[in-house]
């Protein structure tokens, strides 16, 4: 903040806030089954939002020599901004901070060994598999200040690892799969090779299915993709602009009662957790959909004010962007039946693990049509082979409103804690 003309801001602005961020990461990268590179990335920046004459302008820089230009530039831009009547949070706001463990050291040498071990285990069974991996340590710090006296600072750290594998079979069939995890501190990665080998094992045999309507089971990974369609309209901005399918449906039961969806900014063990959003609003766990009823939506200061509701603590911004509401950690309440039993109870169904091109449909309405990138046919309670060259289409809202089964086993994927789910029918084109 050194160099920022605070006197000028105080004299010209109704309010202003400043976000300063600093981050550092060290990714170790494996490419084509070999250690490929070590990287170090460091960046910092400062963003200034001002409300002058009732209108808002944003400016930013990551050049310490230019901080002195920010105040005048932001006030000049505000002349073209939107009229914004809301106020910023006060300095006495109370926050619940996420519980973070003690930070452990990220040792490049031992992470290299972990990566090599994952690759060696996969190669042992599938020598032709092309394996890419990335293992990253990240540290970030941020300080939010505003003209109402609020100062909130946070330091966080994370460990993330991802592995993607592609295997081309003799007939040209390509099997693509992968897995990832995010935690605070370095963790064992043994599970990566086991998960990937078992998916490839299942994919070797192909199966055929005629086009038509068919029950669909989504793995947590595929479920996360479909949820993006469902969640797109659960924001104050979409509702205010009347392009949300949930407009006038808050409080209505429109989904199956077995479906409950939470957003939890304070989720334990998630490095995505935070106690205060990027506008200074305290965060808390919310049921967005509870037993099939639409309970609420996420809102930043601007759209909460326009709708006459309270902000929800979901505002997110980089130093160079305007704030906007975004989801934190997503959770679906677990059901009462193990995934294994869901499969056993199906006479004919498909299991989808990953989609290709899902987000390209008209998602405002919930419609989707996507290639099944990795999917399997279930016959008489067993997975019998991989389905290739096929598509599924349907409507995400109809899926969650229809008959569903939710598994009792839940999997953590980055930014989400999700079960397996069975839906009663999608259109299958093969």
């Amino acid at each position: 903040m050194k160099g920022l003309n605070v006197d000028f801001l105080n004299s010209k602005c109704r309010w202003y806030d400043i976000i300063e961020v600093e981050s550092r990461s060290t990714p170790v990268q494996f490419k084509n089954n070999k250690l490929y590179s070590i990287r170090e990335s460091s960046s910092s920046g400062l963003g200034l939002r001002v409300n002058s004459g009732g209108k808002t302008g944003i400016t930013y820089t990551n050049d310490t020599k230019r901080v002195d230009q920010l105040a005048e530039r932001a006030v000049a831009l505000a002349a073209y901004g939107d009229k914004e009547d809301f106020d910023l949070p006060c300095g006495d706001t109370e926050y619940q901070r996420p519980v973070r463990p003690q930070k452990k050291e990220f040792c490049v040498d031992s992470e290299i060994e972990k990566g090599k071990a994952v690759i060696a285990t996969i190669e042992e069974k599938y020598p032709d598999a092309e394996i890419n991996m990335s293992i990253t340590s990240g540290n970030s710090s941020s300080v939010l200040r505003n003209s109402n006296g609020l100062v909130y600072s946070d330091d966080s750290f994370s460990y993330s690892a991802s592995c993607s594998v592609s295997l081309v079979l003799d007939d040209g069939t390509r099997i693509e799969t992968g897995t990832s995890k995010v935690a605070y501190n370095p963790e064992p990665l043994n599970g990566f090779s086991e998960e990937i080998v078992s998916i490839i094992d299942m994919s070797l045999k192909t199966a055929k299915l005629d086009s038509g309507r068919i029950p669909m089971i989504l793995t947590p990974r595929a479920l996360r993709s479909i949820l993006s369609i469902l969640m797109g309209g659960l924001s104050a901005e979409q509702i205010y602009r009347k392009v949300s399918p949930y407009e006038n449906k808050i409080g209505n039961s429109i989904f199956n009662k077995a479906f409950t969806l939470f957003d939890d900014p304070l989720m334990k063990d998630s490095p995505y957790s935070y106690g205060c959003d990027d506008e200074g609003v305290a965060s808390e766990k919310r049921a967005l959909i509870e037993n099939g009823t639409v309970n609420g939506f996420i809102a930043d200061l601007k759209f909460a004010s326009l709708l006459g509701v309270l902000p929800t603590g979901h505002s997110s911004r980089s130093y160079a962007s305007k704030p906007g509401a975004s989801f934190s950690n997503i959770e679906i309440a677990a059901g009462d039946i193990p995934y294994e039993n869901i499969i056993k109870e199906c006479s004919t169904a498909i299991v989808v693990n990953q989609f290709l091109g899902l987000g390209q449909s008209n998602t405002y309405k919930g419609d989707f049509s996507a290639n099944v990138d990795l999917g399997f046919l279930v016959k008489n309670g067993e997975i019998v082979g991989r389905l290739k060259d096929c598509m599924v289409s349907g409507n995400a809202f109809d899926l969650f409103a229809g008959d569903i089964r939710v598994s009792s086993d839940v999997k953590e994927i980055p930014g989400a804690r999700l079960p397996y789910m069975l839906f009663d029918g999608v259109n299958f084109t093969g």
Partner: protein
């Protein structure tokens, strides 16, 4: 502020790095955004960012450091060397340029946007936005204007260097139409290297955006199944970018024997009239680069010629590993990202037929127009057409929606029955994503194509 004078001191650093190869990239970007949504202003922002990186290749390994503290570039280079020593030596060689190049380049705008006042930029956005709002059935709109002035410096230990003052300007126009529970959206985007002339006088395009969005409200969903399809030049471009362009990126091929076998040069991939090109040297296209991000000059690369696979896209590393020529396709989304093999301006060359002849030939089928996007896993691709029209007896008729096309790359290229002679290139404010780097400015295009047996998802 960074300027051309910094080049000599940076060259001194890479020359004395004591590594097999070293390069430094530094950039400064001054960007302004005006964005309107419906009746309100969404964003008014402006800022200046610095970005820098050093990358070294030593004993067969890469080490890459990115930062915005550009005054400490010498320390970052030392740190890169220190980290590099943690990596075990590998046997790998980079392809070298035959001779060093020195580029000094400056965009030549017709109307420099620095001379256009914020009032004028804002007024233009309002004009377009008012057109987009021109029906009670338009629920909301988005008009975004973006301009960016950047200075890019590149030096490497082979003796190449570049100073590039680049102006980039673009606008995107979208309308969301709503009636009852039906919501449809349509958008167009225009951008390029140049000035305000790139975004001026786009009123007719704004009229088209609202007209299509409204017509989509009336459209029925297409029935799922296999169709003969005519793709318009924009969708042809998305198809060739997604379905084939990514497959030509050598980093996907070089250490995978089976992919190498599938992508053997000389193999027949399509009909005799099929020619596919990637060319980063087309100056007025969005994917233009004076040098790639490894200091290699771009060139016109044929990927398919007369239906046969004849080339692929390379970085120094992949060209070295496959012992093929450099193509100038190592690109990074910013100076803080590592260069990877990427496309530039990718297109299918003109065929001999007219567009009308394609419609006569098809008889019944689907005319798939424009694209929302596309994705590939290298074997299968999916791309969504913005809308379609059912063709009956060679005539495009009623509009259909939810036209999501999918298929196997190799089969679909062979199923191209005819190509028209009306090639166009497209590129907007969006771009291509790969390896977490996106949107990278690229252009894509081609002529109208007639393709058989295309899988389209939907109700039966």
């Amino acid at each position: 502020m960074i300027d051309e004078k910094s080049i000599s001191s940076l060259k001194g650093l890479v020359d004395s790095a004591g590594t097999d190869y070293a390069e430094i990239r530094i950039s400064e970007i001054d960007k302004t955004i005006f964005s309107l949504r419906g009746d309100s202003v969404e964003t008014v922002s402006s800022g200046i960012s610095l970005a820098g990186s050093v990358r070294i290749f030593d004993r067969g390994n890469w080490t890459f450091l990115s930062f915005n503290s550009i005054e400490e570039v010498q320390n970052h280079l030392l740190r890169a060397k220190e980290l590099s020593m943690k990596l075990p030596a590998q046997k790998k060689e980079l392809k070298k340029q035959s001779k060093p190049v020195s580029i000094r380049k400056k965009s030549s705008p017709v109307i420099d946007f620095a001379e256009i006042t914020p009032e004028q930029k804002f007024a233009l956005c309002n004009e377009y936005n008012n057109i987009l709002k021109g029906s009670p059935r338009i629920q909301t709109t988005r008009t975004m204007y973006r301009d960016a002035k950047s200075r890019d410096i590149y030096v490497n230990s082979e003796g190449s260097d570049m100073y590039y003052e680049k102006l980039h300007c673009g606008v995107s126009l979208s309308a969301i139409a709503k009636e009852g529970n039906e919501i449809q959206t349509y958008q167009e985007s225009f951008a390029g290297y140049g000035g305000f002339e790139l975004v001026n006088n786009r009123h007719a395009e704004a009229e088209k955006v609202i007209a299509v969005a409204l017509e989509l409200l009336e459209a029925q969903p297409i029935e799922g199944g296999k169709y003969s399809v005519i793709t318009d030049p924009r969708l042809t471009g998305v198809f060739i970018h997604e379905a084939f362009g990514h497959l030509s990126e050598a980093d996907f091929v070089y250490e995978n024997n089976r992919m190498k076998k599938l992508m053997t040069l000389g193999k027949v991939f399509g009909p005799q009239f099929l020619n596919v090109v990637d060319d980063g040297s087309i100056e007025d296209a969005v994917g233009y680069i004076p040098l790639d991000d490894e200091g290699v000059e771009p060139r016109k690369n044929y990927l398919i010629k007369n239906g046969e696979l004849c080339g692929r896209l390379h970085s120094r590393e992949t060209a070295g590993l496959m012992n093929e020529e450099l193509t100038g396709n190592a690109r990074a989304i910013s100076a803080m990202a590592q260069p990877i093999v990427r496309m530039t301006n990718t297109y299918i060359e003109n065929g001999k037929n007219t567009k009308d002849e394609l419609f006569e030939e098809i008889g019944d089928g689907v005319y798939a127009v424009n694209a929302f996007g596309g994705q590939t896993n290298l074997e299968m691709f999916t791309f969504s057409s913005a809308y379609g029209r059912i063709i009956k007896d060679g005539k495009p008729g009623k509009m259909v929606k939810n036209v999501m096309l999918s298929g196997n790359v190799f089969d679909t290229l062979k199923n191209v029955r005819m190509a028209a002679n009306d090639m166009q290139l497209f590129g907007g404010l969006g771009g291509c994503g790969k390896g977490g780097q996106g949107p990278l400015p690229v252009s894509f295009g081609g002529p109208h194509l007639l393709i058989d047996n295309v899988l389209i998802g939907g109700n039966q």
